[in-house]
């Protein structure tokens, strides 16, 4: 049995179920309570769970993310939200120096079971400070787990796992996926953290991607299929810990790789994956790995400019053909 719901609804359901299940789960963030979130994700939560558990914060990200760290140390399970991932800049310390490091620095004494949800991504003409995909920064910081789902089913199942996980988890949601309506299993389920998923089987080349670019990659794969190119699409789903086994398996089969993400290309997590494959699976590769990412620029506002700043299916198709020398 399954039902068709939007990804934002799936995310809301995950939080709702976990709040019912565990009274230590609380939500903090701007406009999460009375308004029910700017994307409507927590509508009704405050009435149901009370203002103590669904907290409208002031615009004080360092403060409330830092408070989430403190509350998590005490055994709460805070689910904080940054209205956009771009705002990690105003709370980088509690994220990168506190949540990520406190367990290790105290020799394992402290456990920080918190989740920070954050919409990400470009394509909404929100300009430079509201359109970034900053997963690389989080992936670079040991101590954080990083998740970036592409489907409603995964968003729900992974968010539930993230809330139950005892480590700080960065949970990145693409704004332009929110409205997608997709099948989600009925009833209780979780999706394990750290497992990639083959979204399309193929033999000629592996596209490795995550978040919204998985959809574009699948679209590209369909188009390429018409030309007789048989592409496998691997959705990483979790970025840290990385499901290396699934990458090895797919690359050992196809011997060709394209990594696709919306990030600024220079210093991207896509680059890390490209490097790891080139370093450790060199002999499996028939051709150099290709990356399809954003440009090394600030996200522009104007539609014709923004449109060249994140990968579209046509860009992916071009890269696949380049790798396959077609």
């Amino acid at each position: 049995m399954s039902k068709k719901i939007s990804i934002s609804k799936a995310i809301g359901e995950a939080m709702h179920e976990e709040m019912v299940r565990d009274k230590n789960v609380i939500i903090l963030g701007e406009d999460m309570g009375v308004m029910g979130n700017v994307f409507g994700i927590t509508r009704g939560f405050r009435d149901e769970f009370g203002a103590d558990r669904v907290i409208d914060t002031p615009i004080s990200e360092s403060g409330f993310v830092g408070m989430s760290v403190g509350a998590a140390m005490r055994g709460m399970r805070p689910v904080a939200e940054l209205m956009y991932n771009d705002f990690m800049t105003v709370c980088a310390d509690p994220l990168l120096n506190q949540a990520a490091k406190m367990r290790y620095m105290t020799g394992g004494q402290l456990t920080i079971p918190m989740v920070v949800r954050m919409p990400m991504g470009s394509g909404r003409r929100n300009a430079g400070q509201h359109s970034q995909s900053l997963e690389a920064i989080f992936c670079h910081m040991p101590g954080l787990k990083v998740i970036a789902p592409a489907s409603a089913e995964d968003a729900k199942g992974l968010l539930k796992s993230a809330i139950r996980d005892n480590d700080p988890v960065i949970f990145m949601e693409h704004k332009l996926l929110y409205a997608h309506k997709e099948e989600v299993p009925d009833g209780e389920y979780t999706t394990p953290i750290g497992e990639a998923k083959v979204k399309r089987e193929g033999t000629d080349l592996t596209i490795i991607s995550w978040s919204r670019e998985v959809d574009f990659s699948l679209e590209a794969a369909e188009n390429l299929a018409k030309e007789g190119i048989n592409v496998e699409v691997l959705d990483l789903r979790t970025l840290v810990p990385l499901d290396w086994d699934s990458i090895v398996k797919s690359v050992s089969k196809t011997h060709n790789v394209v990594v696709v993400s919306e990030e600024v290309k220079r210093g991207s997590y896509a680059g890390e994956i490209s490097a790891q494959i080139a370093e450790d699976l060199f002999d499996e590769l028939d051709a150099p790995v290709e990356r399809v990412c954003g440009l090394n620029i600030t996200s522009p506002f104007s539609p014709p400019l923004e449109d060249v700043n994140f990968p579209h299916p046509a860009d992916i198709e071009k890269a696949v053909k380049k790798v396959l020398n077609k």
């Binding site: 615009i59 430079g128 400070q129 440009l295 090394n296 522009p300 104007s302 539609p303 400019l305």
Partner: protein
Amino acid sequence: MVKQKYSKEKLVGFYRTMVRIRAFEELAADCFMKGMLAGNIHLSIGQEAVAAGACAAMDKEDYMTTTHRGHGHCIAKGGNIDKMFAELFGKKTGYCKGKGGSMHIADVEGLHHLGANGIVGAGIPIATGSALASKIWKDKHVTVCFFGDGASNQGVFHESLNMAAAWHLPVVYVIESNRYAVSTEIHRVTNTEFLSVRAKAYNMPGKTVDGNDPTIVYEAMKEALDYARSGKGPYLLECETYRHQGHYCGDPAAYRPASYMEEAHKDDCIPCMRAKLLKGKTATEKDLKAIEDEAKAEMEKGLKFAEDSEWPDPSEATTEMYSSDNERSVVR
């Protein structure tokens, strides 16, 4: 008959500015609702008196920083309507050549407008740094920093005001308190009636005034600017006003009690001033109608300019990232 404190010209000038801002915002809203604009816009309808009064008190060469809700300040300081509309449309003729959009309008050379900002609070240290430059150069310019009630809860508010006070920097912090940060009423996330009380933490002057009357804002700003310009240091001015629309254009703002908009309409700066001007015989119905019509026409012209303008060429996406070595720096 009481002698009027301000000349007719001044008073009508306030009115004109407010009307022009509202005409701009309403036309922009119209475009947005018709799907002509991409992204999001944040309108200052209801808050015009703050921009009009404050900018009128500023010297032409004074600097300013604004916010995501910054169209009004730009117009009040003398901004070019054509370039503003073109920027909202993302056209190449816009203030930022389409690269910034509504939330990033700046006019550095012309208006000494150092930029709107998409990060709440981020303009506060920037304005403070501009004031630091003025202090070092002894150039007598004051920097005015506009931001919302919500922004005053960001850490940079504290850091910046503390330094400005310690070093007596020529900066005026203007809180446009419309009482809401998106859906969050300020008193739900603070513990004081007024935000200006925070000035006490830095031993600097702080004042709360009615932000719906441009003459009151003007007067308070004059005092604040004089204070800052004379080398005494920063000033915190809170202007209480109303945000008529939702947070962004299209937000129904269902989270606000009905009473908010009732008050907002009662205190609406434009009809209130209109009535006063007529009552005091400072202007005739005809004068005011002319101002209103002119404003509308000016905005229509701006809109047409924007519509007629060209889109930036996609190749421009990679220009202007760096002032030198741009190409190499964006390639790898």
